[in-house]
């Protein structure tokens, strides 16, 4: 590799890490603020402007906290768990294109790459749940695995519709194909399926079963404290970021905006709005039950996704790839 490529890679990786940390900090703050206001409270208020420094302070607290390992835990796996969660979450960011030409690697099959890494997460959560030697984490970890695996299939099938029409797995190409009509208007069914499945992938209410607070205390992360908890949290927010990005990129036109010049700002705005709506759902909805959850995936979303693909394929054949 040439020196320039090395430099580019390192700068890109650092930038992505900064992005992830920034999104997590902002996301937690915004979530606390937004849900606080939904509940007619004010949320954090005291450190910095409207509590903006609360999260850096929390991070310092997390780093300074004692790192406890339960006696009965499988200590090797317990230490390894957060790494297993953070690596896929971080690696998936590499292929995201944030503006035309702005990506660490603009991969030919970027979408596949992102999904591949996201698929690793249930493994990490199950691992964490198992290693803690706590029954609540165990149930949480297994729920996470069951949920993420069953929602991945409709999600991928819904994304396939987009890939079919855009005739590419490259994220830049997919977004550029939406300069006219966004795919949300062309494939509304696909959009709904993808969003619902993505919401489940993000472990967000009403699909937050793996960390169901009222049932499982804190689900698979019950035993973690300090920075290990921070890493798991980071992984969660990375999924939130990637999920919102994918919805925005695949269906909402990415950086395109009708009648306005394309800019990364639109993408950022869409991501923030999507993240906010997940928080809105979280503040309003109760949680589904575990059997309804899996049934919904296999009995409704999966058939609907198959119908969607057939519909999209038929339309694409009929109208031709240029139009549809």
């Amino acid at each position: 590799m040439s020196a320039a490529l090395w430099l580019r890679t390192i700068v890109g990786l650092v930038a992505l890490l900064a992005l992830l940390a920034g999104v997590t900090l902002f996301g937690v703050w915004w979530e606390r603020k937004f849900i606080g206001h939904l509940q007619r409270r004010r949320g954090p208020l005291h450190h910095g402007w409207h509590g903006l420094l609360q999260l850096p302070a929390d991070m310092i607290k997390m780093i300074a906290k004692e790192d406890t390992v339960p006696t009965a835990a499988d200590s090797l796996l317990f230490q390894f768990g957060p790494v297993a969660a953070i690596v896929p979450a971080y690696a998936a960011l590499a292929a995201l294109t944030f503006a035309p030409g702005i990506a660490l690697i603009d991969m030919q099959h970027g979408l596949l790459y992102v999904f591949a890494w996201e698929t690793m997460l249930p493994l990490a959560f199950a691992l964490i749940g198992w290693s803690c030697a706590n029954k609540f984490t165990l149930i949480g970890g297994l729920r996470a695995a069951a949920q993420l695996i069953s929602y991945e299939i409709p999600m991928l099938l819904a994304a396939l519709g987009v890939v079919l029409t855009a005739q590419s797995m490259n994220l830049t190409t997919i977004i550029n194909a939406q300069t006219g009509w966004w795919y949300v208007f062309k494939q509304p069914l696909g959009f709904v399926i993808f969003s619902v499945a993505m919401l489940a992938e993000m472990n967000r209410s009403p699909f937050d079963l793996p960390e169901a607070e009222s049932e499982l205390v804190a689900g698979y992360m019950t035993e973690y404290s300090g920075m290990k908890f921070g890493f798991v949290q980071l992984a969660e927010y990375s999924v939130l970021l990637v999920g919102s990005y994918l919805i925005a990129a695949l269906f909402l036109g990415g950086w395109n905006m009708p009648f306005l010049p394309a800019s990364w700002l639109w993408l950022a705005l869409k991501i923030v709005l999507l993240m906010t709506s997940t928080m809105w759902f979280r503040g309003t909805f109760p949680r589904l039950r575990v059997d309804t959850l899996t049934q919904m995936s296999w009995k409704w979303l999966l058939p609907a996704a198959l119908v969607n693909i057939m519909l999209v394929a038929a339309l694409a054949l009929w109208l031709g790839p240029k139009v549809y």
């Binding site: 206001h37 939904l38 007619r40 309003t284």
Partner: protein, 139 residues
């Protein structure tokens, strides 16, 4: 239709968000308690400026938690020498104020006496520097 209830719920929460917060910012905004509220005990003064208590012991007998202690003046059976309130034990039930036949006791509107030291919660009501409250006029 499935989903209409969900949408309605989202509408409700958003409307509440737009209506603005209702919480009080406690250390900045002080809530004024109602006159009826039961907080810390204080004693009225009588016409001569002394404690209004006549050392009759009714409040002490009536207190369920043994909070109050009274020492009578050896020279004057109707005068308290010391009247001690161990507020750390008090349940603020109000029976003492209710029971006093001379209406000597009352509650102050002050509720901020949190402390790290239990000893500071023991108040002497008839001493010099006794804790009185506002409105210490004889009844």
């Amino acid at each position: 239709m499935f989903g209409s209830g969900l949408a309605k719920g989202l509408g409700i929460t958003m409307r509440r968000l737009l209506a603005g917060p209702v919480t009080e910012l406690y250390p900045y905004d002080h809530k004024v308690l109602t006159p009826a509220s039961r907080t810390f005990l204080a004693m009225y003064v009588n016409e001569e400026g002394g404690p209004a208590c006549k050392a009759c012991n009714t409040c002490i007998v009536g207190c369920p938690d043994h909070v109050l202690r009274l020492e009578k003046d050896p020279d004057d059976n109707r005068k308290p020498l010391e009247f001690v309130v161990n507020s750390g034990r008090c349940t603020f039930c109000g029976l003492c104020v209710e029971n006093c036949p001379y209406d000597a006791l009352h509650f102050t509107p002050d509720y901020e006496r949190a402390t790290y030291d239990r000893g500071t919660l023991i108040y002497h009501l008839v001493h010099e520097g006794a804790h009185t409250g506002e409105g210490d006029e004889p009844k």
